[in-house]
């Protein structure tokens, strides 16, 4: 566990040593605010909740999280520092988890910085803060799912741009699998269990449960499994691509 913590600390510091962290946080706050108020019709809805804020998170994460994840492994391979990292007495899994946790903590920081919205909604009305807390936690868990995909893809290439694009596409497939557009494509011919299986892989479906304020164990298990599977593959890729 010590080595996971050491890696996490270094990676988190690495985010803040470049402008990336600040650019990301500013864009995340700016976009999430703009979407909430303009597209989400925060005021017009006349409801004291943050639905219009959270409902855009799956879309925001679609391209912002691959941007956070793309450097995790691709940069190490490009600069050759993976040779340094992977010859330290640190197991591969510890490095994978350490990096993942650092990026996750970074996203958590960005998410926490949206607190003015929470203050606003509490000032304007009397929202159910339990629902809001659940949605924040759910959003962070979903971010972990995107991040695991991004980290895994990042390990497979030396090129951060490729890592970004591929991670965004893979995330998009996971996001969209529950949407009517995709579902109707299968519903005509595929058996019900197939359409249901595809639907059950959808980030959107699972997240929509969560933002209603219900943290269902099944949703947590779903995102947990996505994280687990992708990080497992991530570690395997790191070991397979040593020296190449």
């Amino acid at each position: 566990m010590h080595s996971v913590w050491v890696i996490t600390k270094r990676e988190l510091a690495a985010y803040f040593s470049t402008p990336l962290a600040y650019v990301f946080i500013v864009i995340f706050l700016g976009l999430s605010g703009a979407l909430t108020f303009f597209m989400g019709a925060f005021f017009e809805r006349g409801q004291a909740d943050l639905q219009s804020f959270f409902s855009f998170h799956p879309w925001l994460y679609l391209f912002l999280i691959p941007a956070v994840a793309m450097r995790l492994w691709a940069e190490e391979r490009k600069s050759g520092t993976n040779e340094l990292l992977l010859t330290l007495p640190v197991p591969t899994w510890a490095a994978v988890i350490g990096k993942f946790l650092a990026a996750w903590a970074f996203i958590a920081i960005a998410l926490i910085l949206t607190f003015p919205l929470w203050i606003t909604v509490n000032w304007l009305g009397e929202p159910d803060n339990g629902v809001i807390l659940a949605a924040y936690i759910g959003s962070l868990i979903m971010a972990g799912g995107y991040l695991a995909i991004g980290s895994c893809v990042s390990a497979a290439t030396k090129n951060q741009v490729i890592a970004f694009i591929v991670a965004a596409v893979v995330s998009f497939l996971f996001l969209m699998s529950g949407v009517e557009l995709v579902q109707s494509f299968f519903q005509g011919w595929a058996p019900l269990f197939v359409t249901e299986a595809i639907k059950s892989m959808s980030f959107l479906t699972h997240f929509n449960d969560i933002i209603r304020g219900v943290i269902d164990l099944r949703d947590v298990v779903f995102f947990g499994s996505v994280i687990g599977v992708f990080l497992y593959v991530n570690a395997a890729i790191v070991d397979l691509t040593r020296g190449s």
């Binding site: 010590h2 890696i7 040779e83 330290l88 040593r242």
Partner: protein, 314 residues
């Protein structure tokens, strides 16, 4: 483990990348106090071998052991005992020198005062005091290499694997790095790879040449030098142009194989039989004849020639 047991053991170490065999059955032992110079042309398998010993690359077949720990089966134990400078000394450029060394110290399990001591010691040893707070990206090449060496010696490892530690450094920096290696040599088993041949005579107690993934020479630097075509030849430059008589006399000496006259008249190159030492005989003969000698020296032989001969043959 007894004092005499070798600290680095390679047994039939082999690495294949698809159909290509990069390292082809290398067996080596390196003991404490030895500095092994690993020589070979580019692509001969030097870095691949080192990467297997340090646990970066998986081993295709054969085995590598460090201080009695098998690199494949006890990777963490083995890595704990190795200080490794990868080729080109990759470093986290966005970190300041001190933070970077602190990270390496923590990853190697040092915390608190212990960590600070280790970092301070390494900084002092490599004379990095003036750059401890500078981001590594802003350092000169020589400093970067020294930071790379600092992270390799930080935990005072029994085994050091240094891949081209002096590559790209200026002569003064090379000298510093060699001095450091020599200072550490007595307490450790060290492998350095290089393609600078003078480095072998400067720092190594043993030279191993590999070509196409196989060992083609393993011995002391002196033995390596003795394989040079002109090893122990004596060059004589005579003041008066007519050296024909002396030349014939020299050729008649018992230990002399032949006499060459490379650049026309004045210099005679006396080649000994089987690398014998003939300088006294040659000197005596020239003195007896009363010839005026401008210059007389023993040729050590060029390592470059041996290197070419060993790595291009077959």
């Amino acid at each position: 483990m007894s004092e005499q047991a070798p600290m680095i053991v390679l047994e039939n170490l082999t690495k294949r990348f698809g159909p290509f065999t990069a390292v082809d059955g290398i067996s080596l032992n390196v003991s404490k106090g030895e500095v092994l110079g690993f020589l070979g042309p580019n692509g001969a398998g030097k870095s691949t071998t080192m990467r297997m010993v340090t646990g970066f690359l998986p081993i295709t077949s054969g085995a590598a052991g460090v201080c009695g720990f098998d690199v494949a089966n006890q990777p963490q134990e083995a890595r704990r005992r190795v200080g490794y400078l990868p080729e080109g000394a990759p470093l986290y450029g966005d970190m300041a020198t001190r933070n970077f060394l602190g990270f390496i110290a923590e990853a190697r399990g040092f915390t608190g005062a212990d960590k600070t001591d280790r970092v301070d010691h390494a900084v002092k040893r490599l004379a990095l005091e003036s750059v401890v707070n500078q981001p590594i990206d802003t350092l000169s090449k020589g400093y970067k290499r020294r930071v790379g060496l600092a992270q390799a010696i930080l935990h005072d490892p029994d085994v050091m694997i240094l891949d081209e530690p002096t590559d790209g450094l200026d002569p003064n920096q090379k000298h510093q790095v060699r001095e450091l290696i020599q200072e550490m040599a007595a307490e450790k088993a060290i492998i350095i790879s290089t393609h600078i041949l003078e480095e072998v005579t400067a720092v190594c107690s043993r030279a191993t040449i590999i070509a196409r993934g196989r060992i083609v020479f393993d011995g002391t630097p002196d033995e390596l030098q003795s394989k040079a075509p002109h090893h122990n030849a004596v060059a004589v430059r005579l003041a008066n142009a007519d050296g024909t008589a002396i030349r014939d006399a020299l050729a008649g000496l018992p230990d002399v194989e032949r006499v060459e006259q490379p650049d026309g008249a004045s210099t005679l190159m006396v080649i000994p039989r089987n690398g014998a030492s003939i300088v006294e005989q040659v000197g005596g003969l020239v003195r007896d004849r009363g010839a005026e000698v401008d210059e007389l020296y023993v040729e050590r032989g060029h390592l470059d020639d041996v290197f070419r001969q060993l790595t291009l043959s077959e």
